[in-house]
């Protein structure tokens, strides 16, 4: 049998530069499973890409319909929350297609009526905001300025960070949005500089406005210490700013263990950037879909969806990236597994990442892991 898996991501549009690495993560997992020959009695996995445009719900829905017409059983996606909700309501649920999003973080997805078909390996904004606030406080930061990318991810995370930080007694001097892909960020930088603060929290994307703001803040000497959440963490960050951002804090979902290292090896072999935001989550999303099908012994999402939580969480034998064959074997043998994956997957109801986070500081122009939370 040939199981079709869709990579439903924003290949064009504002996040077009992130999508290829995310897709590559998902495809790597699919290929690993397919090549192992152990997937559902020698079934193969075929992936296909479709474009969500990230912003245009109608186009995303139409593309997803096409995937379903092509016989796709499950999708890794969507990439952005709004479009994901539309696809879930209009395509996923009516057709009974399972969707695991690597990057949609909106709280609305937690409460949505999803018929049990939707999961996400991305952490929720609320939890990350709290961790960020705690870390900042621990580093002795008393006041911060926040700039966030003007979408539901940025706004949600900025809000939860602000609430948590203020609760801990910190002061938020300003919280202002920036739009991605704009020509110039001088005005934003000037405003943030004027508001001041011990550090600047850049809730954005590393290859988008987030970098533009950081660049401006550094060049004008407005801030020299930054707090970077998951959208900003990646090799691109240190490549771009190097030692200039020494002493800044980074937070991204990951857990202790060698999941991450294994994923990096595997990505190097497959030729994509493992540090790119959400590509590890995409690997995990694809792996979870396929492992749960294996557990259910059926490619039918209706059956597989029941197994996702079981496969993802303890108890069971831990499975890391690159070990999917082992996971398949164990499941075939009826043994329970605990999929850890590249981003330490731990799902809580209603099917989203519990969120364990890795704290890094930037030292000598490198991301240095400090601890896990």
């Amino acid at each position: 049998e040939e199981v079709k898996l869709g990579m439903h991501l924003g290949f064009t549009g504002p996040l077009e530069s992130m999508a290829p690495d995310i897709a590559a993560g998902g495809e790597a997992a699919a290929k690993e499973v397919s090549d192992s020959g152990k997937f559902m009695d020698g079934s193969t996995v075929v992936t296909s890409r479709s474009d969500t445009t990230c912003t245009d719900a109608a186009a995303s829905v139409a593309a997803a319909e096409r995937q379903v017409a092509d016989g796709v059983k499950a999708m890794v996606g969507g990439q952005c929350s709004g479009e994901t909700i539309a696809v879930l309501e209009k395509v996923g649920i009516p057709n009974g297609v399972m969707m695991i999003s690597p990057s949609a973080t909106s709280p609305a997805l937690s409460t949505i009526e999803d018929n049990g078909l939707f999961f996400r390996t991305a952490p929720s904004d609320a939890r990350q905001g709290e961790v960020m606030a705690q870390l900042a406080k621990d580093q002795g930061i008393e006041s911060v300025a926040i700039t966030y990318t003007n979408n539901d991810y940025g706004k949600g995370l900025a809000d939860s960070f602000q609430a948590a930080f203020e609760k801990l007694g910190g002061q938020v001097t300003t919280s202002a949005a920036h739009d991605d892909g704009k020509a110039d960020y001088s005005a934003e930088v000037a405003a943030l500089a004027s508001a001041g603060g011990d550090a600047l929290a850049v809730v954005g994307y590393v290859d988008q406005g987030g970098s533009g703001i950081t660049r401006g803040a550094l060049d004008t000497g407005a801030f020299d210490k930054f707090i970077f959440p998951d959208g900003m963490i990646g090799d691109a960050l240190v490549e771009r700013f190097g030692t200039e951002i020494d002493g800044s804090i980074g937070i991204n979902p990951a857990a202790e263990g060698d999941g991450r290292a294994k994923f990096e090896e595997l990505a190097a072999a497959a030729g994509f950037d493992p540090s790119a935001p959400y590509s590890a989550e995409a690997y995990d999303a694809a792996a979870l879909i396929l492992l749960s099908m294996q557990a259910a012994k059926s490619a039918d999402p209706a059956a597989a969806k029941e197994k996702v939580m079981e496969v993802a969480n303890a108890p069971g034998e831990p499975v890391l990236p690159g070990e999917l064959a082992k996971g398949l074997e164990l499941l075939a043998a009826g043994t329970d597994i605990d999929y850890v994956g590249a981003s330490s997957v731990e799902l809580v109801e209603p099917g989203e990442s519990a969120g364990s986070f890795r704290e890094t500081t930037i030292t000598d122009g490198k991301l240095e892991v400090v601890g896990f939370h």
Binding site: H178, D184, A187, A190, S194
Partner: protein, 333 residues
């Protein structure tokens, strides 16, 4: 001392960035205005053509860097510019030959040309991405700063810093040079006047012995040069990312319009007006006021930065209400 601090803060956060941004917009607007003035349509492919020209310049820069050529403190990309311009010129001339010429011959409505330019925009948009990818690319080398914050603080002893990037300085200088050259060309040379004549009355230009196709070619070549220069300077100063080049179209058009479409001097003025209004009106005066002795809890911000481009558009509309064809009397089709 505090007065100086206030002044430096203003220069550092408002004046210098706005001046550089204004120069970038002005160069872009100059190209838009030229095409509008002479070929009589709003070229929506402008942003994406800028991206295309820049992409070629970047590849040439890489080639130069690979063989070890550099300009010392000045970015190598400037050396690669002629190649980028040539590539971009070939591209737009080809586009004109395949697309626009047909409508020109048929004397189509300007709107048809505008729509054709939307088609070209889509294609350029895809081509650039296929050529060089969607990722952000930095290609500036040489010295980053003419003045940097730390050394300025040490030198001056002020608490505020001042930064001037090499690219900012180059942008402003190049903008001034280009504008001057364009003026000289349009108002003093025979070819330049022929271009204006053509834009005024095509049939009569023909009757005066002006070869329309030659005028059109010349226009496209100059426009390609302007687009590539603008795109490259912008990319040097910020970073190159194809997606942003579509987004910059909006402020560029705003600049061209405030100044008056078809008027080169208007394009320059427009660029600076848009840039300064975006940066200055949304600037929180808290810090400057603090240095001047007024402590304030609020940010003293007239308008939040979320609405920054709204500011430039409101200015645009007000200008147009009082001067319907822009500050410097542009044309209208």
């Amino acid at each position: 001392m505090d007065l100086l601090n206030a002044l430096v803060a203003f220069l550092n956060f408002v004046f210098i960035p706005a001046a550089a941004y204004g120069a970038q917009l002005a160069l872009g607007a100059l190209g838009v205005t030229l095409i509008y003035g002479i070929l009589r349509f709003s070229n929506f492919a402008h942003g994406d053509t800028m991206a295309f020209g820049t992409a070629i310049t970047i590849m040439a820069t890489w080639a130069l860097q690979a063989i070890g050529i550099s300009l010392g403190p000045i970015p190598t990309a400037l050396l690669a510019l002629p190649i980028g311009i040539a590539g971009c010129a070939l591209m737009v001339l080809g586009t004109d030959r395949i697309v626009y010429r047909f409508y020109r011959k048929k004397k189509s409505d300007p709107i048809i040309l505008v729509m054709a330019s939307v088609g070209v925009m889509f294609i350029m948009n895809g081509l650039t991405r296929i050529l060089i990818g969607v990722d952000e690319i930095r290609f500036d080398d040489g010295a980053r700063f003419v003045i940097d914050v730390r050394s300025f603080r040490e030198w001056s002893g002020l608490s505020e810093g001042l930064a001037l990037r090499t690219t900012q300085l180059i942008t402003v200088i190049v903008a001034v040079l280009v504008v001057w050259a364009l003026f000289w060309f349009l108002n003093r040379t025979k070819s330049g006047k022929a271009m204006r004549a053509y834009s005024d009355n095509e049939d009569l230009a023909l009757l005066s012995g002006i070869d329309p196709e030659q005028v059109v070619r010349l226009t496209w070549i100059i426009a390609a040069a302007l687009m590539t220069i603008a795109g490259t300077l912008y990319g040097l100063d910020k970073a190159f990312k194809p997606f942003n080049y579509f987004q910059i179209l909006l402020p560029i058009f705003a600049a061209a319009i405030v100044g008056g479409l078809g008027s080169p001097i208007g394009a320059i003025a427009g660029g600076f007006i848009v840039a300064f209004s975006e940066v200055a009106i949304t600037y929180p005066w808290k810090k400057v006021a603090g240095h001047l002795g007024f402590q304030s809890d609020g940010l003293l911000q007239l308008m939040s930065t979320e609405y920054k481009f709204a500011v430039s558009f409101v200015i645009l509309i007000i200008v147009l209400l009082f001067r319907p064809t822009g500050l410097f009397r542009g044309k209208s089709v």
